[in-house]
């Protein structure tokens, strides 16, 4: 699909989404799933389809009804000027919070894996400078970069899984009883909360073309993301066991460290760290673009490029001051971010969809009275 200079295709947007999801999937999901559902945790992403498929259908319906508008425009059209802007401000605060939080996560992950002696300030600055520089070229750069690199990430994930197959212990992932249904549903909130970022991405829908094929690509994205989540959790719990996986600071890294191919190829955790760096870079950049687009919609600005630098400095301070230690950061993900993501990523779109259906009659009557 050919796209304009500042436009991306829906396929590219969903590539970006898949990369965005891969970052919290490897950091947060195995721990959360193991803590909530023990050996049955790996089934939990499959349950997330119950929430995710309706979200795709809701977004598709809204995009078809309000063709050519961004999600900000759709919200303002449905909810009115003042209430709509209030909702946009809530999403803006969510975007700012996520940007600061994921910047801090990224830095914490690097300091606890490969750079233990480097200060957080330095790593945050080294992350935010390239992001601020790259965003001046627009979101298309991130989208095209994701399109090229996603197949490599997928291949690496599959290869690592094949290398680790021999180390999986069946008693770590089985048996799954009827009594495990409720823990699995509880664990599925983790994967559902990560998939909720899809709605946030549609604040960029004015930059996306070919939205008519969103439903088709949406189903493929669901399949790819849910399978990769199941694979990551299955391998992690299968190799480490649920008890170790929920207590380990970085269970996926601990799992990948166990890869040994005929006692010659070892210590290939650098691959997973490279994937993390790229995924987090894409995630933070996309959150920057979404937040700046929301600022643009709220204040009806013509351009947001002059705001990139000052926003990057704000995120620098916020990411440093978001928590005083790693324990607080992890607790906030479990107790604050999961419910918040579910409410804003699934709850509000449902309300929006219902309101759009209620407004259906008034919209059709407006069409009839229009002079054209």
């Amino acid at each position: 699909m050919k796209t304009g200079k500042d436009k991306i295709s829906v396929r590219q947007l969903l590539f970006v989404f898949t990369i965005i999801v891969s970052s919290p999937s490897t950091r947060f999901l195995p721990k959360y799933a193991a803590a909530q559902a023990a050996q049955a945790g790996w089934v939990s992403p499959a349950v997330s389809t119950v929430l995710f498929i309706p979200l795709i259908l809701i977004i598709d319906s809204l995009l078809k009804k309000y063709e050519g508008q961004s999600m900000s425009g759709i919200i303002t059209s449905i909810m009115g000027k003042y209430l709509g802007k209030l909702v946009l401000v809530i999403y803006l605060l969510w975007g700012v919070w996520l940007s600061a939080m994921y910047t801090r996560y990224y830095v914490d992950r690097l300091t606890s894996s490969i750079y233990p002696n480097i200060s957080n300030n330095v790593l945050i600055i080294l992350t935010l400078i390239p992001i601020a520089y790259m965003l001046r070229s627009g979101f298309t750069v991130i989208a095209r970069m994701s399109e090229i690199l996603l197949p490599f990430i997928g291949t690496m994930l599959v290869m690592l899984s094949i290398f680790l197959l021999g180390r999986i212990r069946t008693d770590n992932v089985l048996p799954i009883y009827f009594n495990d249904i409720m823990p699995i549903v509880k664990a599925s909130f983790g994967s559902s909360s990560v998939l909720a970022y899809l709605f946030l991405l549609f604040f960029l829908s004015d930059k996306v073309v070919n939205l008519k094929s969103f439903k088709k690509f949406g189903y493929i994205t669901t399949y790819v993301n849910i399978s990769s989540m199941i694979l990551v959790i299955f391998i992690t719990i299968g190799v480490l066991g649920s008890s170790v996986a929920q207590r380990s600071p970085m269970p996926v890294l601990s799992t990948v460290k166990q890869v040994s191919l005929m006692d010659t190829i070892e210590n290939i955790e650098a691959i997973i760290i490279a994937i993390w760096i790229f995924a987090d870079f894409t995630l933070i950049s996309t959150l920057f673009v979404v937040t700046l687009n929301l600022i643009k919609s709220i204040f009806k600005l013509s351009d947001t490029k002059p705001l990139i630098n000052i926003y990057a400095i704000l995120i620098y301070f916020l990411s440093l001051g978001i928590c005083s230690n790693k324990f607080e950061l992890e607790e906030s993900a479990n107790k604050l971010l999961v419910p918040l993501n579910i409410v804003l990523g699934y709850g509000f779109p449902i309300i929006l969809f219902v309101l759009s259906k209620l407004k259906k009659g008034s919209k059709s009557s407006t069409k009839q009275t229009s002079p054209s």
Binding site: L301, P306, L307, I313, G321, I322, E328, S332, L336
Partner: protein, 64 residues
């Protein structure tokens, strides 16, 4: 403190072309963002060892 000085410099550098192009609304938003950044930056610099937004949230929502 050096980051606060840098913030001030960035605000001025970004503001000058906006004023020349008479982009009043953009300049106002930049100043609002700049003011928030300077205020939070100052707070962080003076409370760097105890600053925690997560803790404030936990207190607001009474989460233990």
């Amino acid at each position: 403190m050096s980051m606060l000085i840098l913030t001030f410099i960035v605000i001025v550098i970004e503001l000058i072309p906006m004023v020349k192009k008479k982009q009043g609304k953009e300049a106002a938003v930049l100043l609002i963002l700049g003011a928030i950044t300077l205020a939070y930056g100052y707070y962080y610099n003076t409370h760097w060892n105890t600053a925690s937004l997560v803790k404030i949230y936990f207190e607001i929502f009474n989460i233990e």
